[in-house]
């Protein structure tokens, strides 16, 4: 319910006039409709018809915009239903009105005449009077009498809507002159081509300066034309044969010959959407041939892409039989696209790429085992782009970026090492600086532990200091590249190949240098972590999985070390810690040594490079004793006292929730160490000069104490020490707070304190006797 959009009104200079005109017309309609119904109630048919005719006369106007005309039309045709129902009723009761069909033709003007004729004609058909075939033919021909585009379109739409359920849908005539599906097809096709002609004619009405508005108005009416195709698709008796030999050729002839870009664009798309995919498969060549003959202003690529995507979806849907093997779908499209590229010298690189991307999607979706198809696409893209001339660097970059974005939007996967290489070659202007490739690649090949290119400064060609904008651009394009790494996937089964893909990716992306790898290599590392997990999950089917996992972590270790060397210690730290977390979960041989190695790397990075207290907390989830005490040690060495206090207090959690191997996954709950940490934190807090800050720190500490006291409820741990210390702290805080000068900060501290006490009280009153007992010592 949140997502309904409000339609935007196209307000022109005459909107107010339009509203006025429409309101006037609508009130006439309502009045006449009322009169008509009254006459029908009194069985005065002639009078009713007169009123109906008056009502329909409003549709003769030339003053209304398509939108307004539509509103008027809807109201009138609604009212016409009453007339139709009345007549049906009369006929079914045997009270045939003599010669009604001829009678209504005496209505004064052609518009009311034809609307009435259609209404009556349909009644006749429904009551099986006269020949259905003849009436239908008569009606569709008679409509030629209205050549004004807007009025004609709506009139023929009325014809289509009224005849919706009476079109014959059988192969052979059931009765004499009742018509068969051929007659229906003729009927609809004629209606369609007449409507299309009217629609096209709208383009040329009026002033050239109003062209945009006319085109917009035409677009508003496109559904009227499209409904004919929908009607055809609803005739069940039309099978593939008939579609191919009768229906499609006629539609295509009309579309191609009208030479109107707007119509062609819409109708071709409409054909794709309205008819089933099996029909498209059977008529592909005819359709593609027509595409080649369209007005050059039509964006054929959109039509092709639509069709390719639809057929891809059809072939890969659950339960589908796929593409029949006698239809070389890929070749058809490949040729067609090649033709387009040849015939359109002004085809933009973006258009080329989007066509190729759709084709790639087809290849990957439908012809998974035909690796040569994807190769072919990448090749043609490359040569296509080259043929488009010596593109300058920014253009090359934007085209490459476009290709990557396209792949991301479509979720196009790159399923092998070779294709990763091809793709990265294609977008080489994004991957590395020109010239950096060869040298760096050689260096990277020999030294697996270092990354090619200059660490920290990717501009190996001495491009000078980068502007803010350059950095932003780089970040954006590298981010794209990094995101695409997640599309490098061999699928759920080929795990060894996936490792190969990641190795290839790293090798090539490393040539980008320090500025780039910060975006592009972490995705490789995370993909590797996930791959290790998948190997572990597959342990039953692969007994070499342990060795393979180890190799993966070695790969990650060297990659992350390389990143650290590029002056990215924070990033490397995080990656090491995350790696340790993953290793922990995978029990390959000596995995705890590997985890320790990752963590100690992280730690040394931390000690050497970083002094940010906040980042400390990442160590909390590990479970190795020496690192635990090191963490506490590091915490107390932080620069500022408040940070030290907070960090040491946080370490208490290490000794509580840490899960060392010896305890087989159970929490440590080392109360003694917890108490020590908190006491130490308290001492550090007491050394703070600012009273308010002290109070804040103490309050936070009290919350820590509360946490552990409450956590130990139900166990046999003796937390009386903790409780009493907490009680002492509370007293201290009260003392400080009473002496504090009021200020925004102190008010905040007060609130926090009150909230803490309130919390403790509520816990104590919660009914659990042991908790109450523990908290009693706090002397609340």
């Amino acid at each position: 319910l949140f997502w309904q959009t409000r339609s935007q009104d196209m307000s022109g200079p005459v909107t107010e006039d339009q509203e006025k005109l429409l309101d006037e017309a609508l009130s006439v309609v309502k009045l006449q409709a009322f009169q008509m119904k009254r006459c029908l109630d009194k069985a005065k048919l002639m009078d009713a018809l007169k009123h109906a005719s008056n009502m329909l006369g409003e549709l003769r106007t030339s003053l209304l915009s398509p939108k307004s005309y539509y509103e008027l039309y809807m109201l009138i045709t609604d009212e016409m239903r009453h007339l139709e129902l009345y007549l049906l009723d009369e006929f079914q009761k045997g009270r045939r009105v003599q010669d009604l069909y001829e009678l209504v033709q005496y209505a004064g003007n052609i518009i009311p005449r034809l609307y009435l004729l259609i209404t009556v004609g349909v009644v006749y058909i429904k009551c099986s009077e006269i020949s259905r075939k003849d009436i239908l033919k008569d009606l569709v021909e008679m409509c030629r009498g209205v050549q004004h585009p807007l009025r004609g379109l709506f009139l023929r739409n009325y014809l289509l809507q009224c005849t919706k359920n009476v079109l014959p849908d059988c192969v052979e005539e059931e009765q004499e002159d009742s018509g068969s599906v051929s007659d229906s097809i003729d009927f609809v096709l004629l209606n369609f081509s007449e409507m299309n002609k009217l629609w096209v004619r709208m383009q040329h009405q009026g002033h050239t300066r109003e062209r945009d508005r006319r085109e917009q108005e035409r677009r508003e009416l496109k559904l009227l034309v499209g409904t004919n195709l929908v009607r055809l698709s609803q005739l069940d008796t039309i099978d593939v044969q008939r579609y191919r030999s009768v229906v499609l050729p006629a539609v295509l002839e009309q579309v191609v010959n009208c030479k109107d870009a707007l119509s062609q664009d819409y109708v071709m798309e409409c054909i794709i959407q309205v008819f089933p995919d099996e029909y498209h498969l059977a008529t592909l060549q005819d359709f593609l041939q027509a595409c080649a003959e369209l007005n050059p202003a039509v964006p054929v690529k959109n039509i092709l892409i639509s069709l390719i995507n639809r057929l891809s979806a059809f072939a890969t849907r659950d339960g589908s039989n796929g593409i029949p093997s006698d239809i070389p779908l890929f070749d058809f499209f490949s040729e067609q696209i090649a033709k387009i590229i040849e015939n359109k010298p002004d085809l933009s690189p973006e258009d080329l790429v989007s066509l190729q991307a759709a084709l790639t999607g087809l290849a990957l979706g439908v012809y998974k085992d035909r690796e040569d198809y994807v190769d072919k696409v990448l090749e043609t893209t490359n040569s296509g782009l080259d043929k488009l001339g010596r593109l300058d660097s920014p253009t090359k970059k934007s085209v490459s970026a476009y290709l990557l974005q396209n792949m991301l939007n479509n979720g196009t996967l790159v399923p092998s090492s070779e294709q990763v290489e091809q793709l990265l070659d294609l977008v080489r202007c994004l991957v590395a600086d020109p010239g950096a490739d060869a040298a760096a690649a050689a260096a990277a090949a020999t030294a697996t532990n270092s990354l090619g290119g200059d660490p920290g400064d990717g501009s190996a060609n001495g491009a000078g200091p980068d502007s803010e904008a350059d950095n932003e651009d780089l970040a954006e394009e590298q981010s794209l590249l990094g995101r695409v790494v997640h599309l490098f996937s061999t699928g759920p089964d080929l795990l060894d190949e996936q490792f190969g893909v990641l190795k290839t990716a790293r090798r090539i992306l490393a040539t980008g240098g320090g500025r780039r790898v910060k975006y592009t290599l972490p995705p490789v590392v995370y993909q590797a972590y996930q791959l290790a997990i998948r190997f572990h999950n597959r342990q039953d089917s692969d007994d070499k999985w342990r060795k393979k996992c180890r190799k993966i972590f070695e790969f990650c270790h060297s990659t992350v070390c390389g990143l650290a060397k590029c002056e990215l210690p924070n990033l490397a730290l995080r990656l090491f810690v995350d790696g340790a977390l993953v290793v922990d979960k995978i029990p390959f041989d000596q995995h705890d040594t590997v985890a320790y190695e990752f963590l100690s790397q992280a730690f040394s990075l931390y000690e050497e490079e970083i002094s940010d207290s906040k980042r400390m907390t990442c160590f909390a989830a590990e479970n190795h004793e020496p690192l635990r005490s090191q963490t506490v040690h590091a915490a107390s060495k932080l620069l500022r006292k408040p940070d030290q206090s907070r960090a040491v207090a946080a370490c208490a959690h290490l000794f509580w929730s840490g899960r060392p191997r010896e305890l087989q996954g159970a929490e440590m709950r080392d109360l003694k160490k917890v108490g020590e940490c908190l006491k130490r934190a308290g001492r550090l807090a007491s050394q703070c000069m600012d009273a308010g800050l002290q109070a804040q720190l103490y309050t936070e500490l009290v919350n820590y104490y509360l946490y552990f006291v409450l956590q130990s409820a139900g166990s046999n741990l003796d937390v009386s020490q903790l409780s009493s210390t907490a009680g002492q702290l509370l007293a201290k805080i009260r003392e400080i707070l009473s002496g504090l000068e009021p200020s925004a900060d102190s008010e905040h501290i007060h609130k926090h304190f009150e909230a803490t006490v309130e919390f403790a009280r509520s816990q104590s009153a919660s009914g659990d006797a042991t908790i109450a007992g523990l908290l009693a010592q706090l002397e609340l």
Partner: protein, 194 residues
């Protein structure tokens, strides 16, 4: 009196490009400009494109820093929407990660009705100790080393802040489709924050 619609998007842990390539296309189709008044982001966007995307939805975007974010966003933020005081933090700073009692403590410390946190990449919505807690999960279903065994599900939440209650809509991307659930919280009138 006017009924103001106050929709708040709660989203985060994108991890683009490090751990994911983008949010699911079906999410993108739902999240369009002009529908949402506020965005609260739990952090770990990483890349600029995620931030730009959020900024395109509305002008009032609040972000807190995740452990991978470069930018100088705050560790915590307090935002008032209607009658609701909301606290926002990433959550990697709270130990143990995702622990409800620690979250509860932070809520008290910030003095808010609802505490939003992220980091664990698992969707949570619960009530505890007189307050409400929400974790929108990861918008991209990014890989989480700490929860390595589980298959992540992309998710986010949408809050409809009304006069005396908050309706929370939970959007999850499961088996190729968007599934929506609904949870309602009553905003406490009398509370200890005075």
């Amino acid at each position: 009196c006017e009924i103001l619609v106050m929709l708040v998007l709660v989203i985060g842990d994108f991890h683009v490009p490090y751990r994911a390539s983008s949010i699911p296309a079906k999410f993108r189709r739902l999240l369009v400009p002009g529908k949402i008044q506020h965005v609260l982001c739990t952090g770990n966007l990483i890349g600029r494109d995620s931030l730009d995307y959020l900024k395109s939805l509305t002008s009032d975007v609040h972000v807190v820093r995740g452990e991978f974010d470069d930018a100088s966003w705050p560790e915590t933020k307090v935002v008032t929407v209607g009658q609701l005081r909301i606290g926002l933090t990433h959550g990697h700073q709270l130990l143990p990660w995702g622990d409800p009692a620690s979250l509860s403590e932070l809520r008290r410390r910030l003095g808010v009705d609802l505490l939003i946190s992220g980091h664990t990449r698992r969707f949570e919505a619960f009530e505890r100790d007189g307050g409400f807690f929400l974790n929108p999960g990861s918008a991209t279903g990014a890989f989480s080393p700490a929860e390595a065994g589980e298959t992540p599900v992309p998710s986010f939440a949408l809050l409809d802040v009304q006069a005396s209650s908050v309706v929370c809509y939970i959007y999850r991307f499961l088996d190729g489709d968007v599934a929506v659930e609904r949870v309602e919280f009553k905003i406490p009138r009398a509370n200890s924050r005075g």
